[in-house]
Amino acid sequence: MSILVDRGSRVVIQGMTGREGSFHTEQMRAFGTNVVAGVSPGKGGNDQNGVPVFDTVADAVEATDANVAGVFVPPAFAADAIMESAAAGVALTVCITEGIPVHDMVRARAFVDRTSGKLLGANCPGIVTPRQCKIGIIPNHINEPGPVGIVGRSGTLTYEVIQGLSQAGMGQTTSVGIGGDPVLGLGFTEVLQMFAADGDTRAVVMIGEIGGSDEERAAQWIESSGFDKPVIAFISGRTAPPGKRMGHAGAIISGGTGTAQSKIDALTAAGAAIADTIEDVVRLTAARLGAPAA
């Protein structure tokens, strides 16, 4: 099993004819993702490498029954693209775009919340269920199927964890990048809830960072819900000074909140194992799974 995406996912890519969109669409198809449509306003009726292109997401959904969308459009148009796919009835919209204005994201998130659809991102690397479906930009070759659920705010650090676990023989049910922006779709808690309900996920690795209090809220949920799968948490930014944005728009300690220590304390209190390095993540995950350490 897996969460959110699997081999039944029928994917529409918004911005498929753009530079990033076309490159990553081919990567996703090489992975085995069932990309059924692309959307590019004004280019409807064409096809790109055998994938039909539509003017609107609604047209794409009607013609192909697409149920997951990947957004690769520039920041100025991305919030609109998110709302378009949610309005078209797509169950999950994955937005890769970095640099979307916060006010746009606040509106897009409120809009998606009024539909039955979910949003992942923005400013996220996407989602992978190994051997089944990948939406986004996570490198293809690092993913292996197995019992670990991964959820992270960072891109490359999440790749490191995936690769480290895969190389140690611990594959993944699903790896989810929730994104580095201050206003996001799915957060840690929502993804943990899905991993809780997924029978094949036996341990979860959380990759958090400074800024906001999403990790703290997830820790509260772990405690209050009695979530019984092992959680291994990796938090970056202990050395980050207050008031500075550390690369991600959302990675900032402001008014004393959002420090790495506050997240580590909350997660420790919730029973999570805290990892300082990728090697620690691998070692602690192996120990918690009862698998031989690599």
Binding site: P101, V106, R107, T156, L157, Y159, G180, E209, H248, D276
Partner: protein, 393 residues
């Protein structure tokens, strides 16, 4: 993008909010002229941080001569590292009481929040800690904006815990509908992350006046507010010292995501989380990171060269740790990029490179042959760079 008080107040005025009459002065004489025109004035340092009052950056004066003298004093100040280059001279207000009104991002609610407080003039965090009852919050629908009934409820919530306002609460709530609607609309139209009036002064004749203003605009929305960006750039042009970290100014010119720190180990990584972890590892191994530099997803030779050159501008840097997750970038390409940059820039300080990716063994061999220290794990790399730089002061 942070605006100064006077720049925020210009926007407040255009939005129909009341502000005291004021003039900008860059010299003591200009401040004296403002006092001659306006009478009793407050001379206020224009710096992009709070706490200037406590630092002596505000003076109330009655005469042009006093204005000249105080402006002279304030214009020679540095407030927490920011030199004062101009003062805002505005009519000194008769204030009956101080309130607070602000619009800011609430990350937890994934909404903008309007915060009203019956206690103003101090940091809102301090009010929240000391008299939380006096604060009320409203999370408006982002499409509809705040409705008058919601704003009245917000006002009554906070005012009900402020006995001194009980008799005029109805009148205040009605004035606040007007002020809040305008402030929220301004915040939305400017893509403000923070749009704050603190204090919001209640004058003896019952008017609400913005006695101070704070406005920070989302950099992701800069493309919609070129005029603001240009104004800020123009204001800073020609100034020898902007008060900003000069290394960070240089990095921005180079298009690099860089934060300057106090240590001696240069740190370069790709991706924000990975780069933050790189710094954490250096610290954990007993070193002190000199910077945070995220070269982004890929790791082209040109970006690596630009980043290395940037990091080494800081003379405190004794060596550099480059930590790259290759992904679809090939390890040998990353290695060649680092070697070319080292040769081109004549770098003699130690470099430790840790990378993963396809053909990473070949990459490590190339680095080793070129006299650069390769590492297979970030932990090993952190250990090596700290050893190489710790005693090389």
């Amino acid at each position: 993008m942070k605006l100064l008080e006077y720049q925020a107040k210009e926007r407040f005025t255009s939005a129909g909010l009341a502000v005291p009459a004021g003039r900008l002065a860059r010299t003591p004489d200009e401040a004296a002229a403002a006092a001659a025109e306006l009478g009793r004035i407050a001379v206020k340092a224009q710096v992009p941080i709070g706490g200037r009052g406590k630092a002596g950056g505000i003076a109330v004066v009655d005469t042009p001569d006093d204005a000249r003298r105080e402006a002279q004093r304030i214009l020679s100040m540095q407030i927490r590292g920011y030199p004062v280059r101009r003062v805002w001279c505005e009519t000194a207000l008769a204030i009956d009481s101080e309130l607070y009104l602000g619009v800011t991002l609430d990350r937890d609610q994934r909404r903008m929040v309007i915060i009203f407080s019956a206690a103003g003039g101090m940091e809102i965090e301090q009010v929240a800690a000391e008299t939380p009852d006096r604060i009320a919050k409203l999370w408006p629908d982002p499409f509809a904006g705040p409705q008058p009934f919601e704003i009245r409820r917000l006002a009554f919530d906070a005012l009900s815990h402020a006995p001194e306002h009980r008799e005029r609460a109805g009148k205040l709530a009605s004035s606040l509908v007007n002020v809040t609607t305008r402030l929220y609309s301004l915040a939305s139209s400017l893509d403000a992350l923070t749009c704050e009036i603190n204090p919001l002064a209640l004058t003896p004749d019952g008017l609400l006046v913005a006695a101070d203003g704070k406005l920070e605009i989302d950099e992701n929305a800069e493309y919609r507010h070129r005029d603001v960006a240009e104004e800020l750039a123009r204001e800073d042009a020609g100034a020898e010292v902007t008060g900003e970290d000069p290394f960070e100014v240089e990095a921005r010119k180079r298009g690099l995501t860089y934060v300057h720190l106090d240590g001696y180990v240069g740190c370069i990584g790709n991706g924000a989380g990975l780069t933050m972890n790189t710094l954490d590892l250096v610290k954990q191994h007993g070193g002190e990171p000199a910077d945070f530099l995220d070269i982004g997803g890929g790791a082209s030779a040109e970006r690596v060269r630009n980043a290395l050159e940037m990091v080494l501008l800081d003379p405190k840097v004794r060596g550099v740790f480059i930590n790259v997750f290759g992904g679809i970038t090939r390890g040998d390409e990353v290695a060649r990029g680092v070697i070319a940059a080292r040769d081109e820039l004549n770098i003699t300080k130690p470099l430790v490179v840790r990378m993963t990716g396809t053909r990473e063994e070949e990459g490590r061999r190339l680095l080793h042959e070129a006299g650069i220290v390769p590492a297979t794990s970030a932990t090993e790399a952190a250990d090596k760079i700290v050893q190489l730089t710790r005693d090389a002061a």
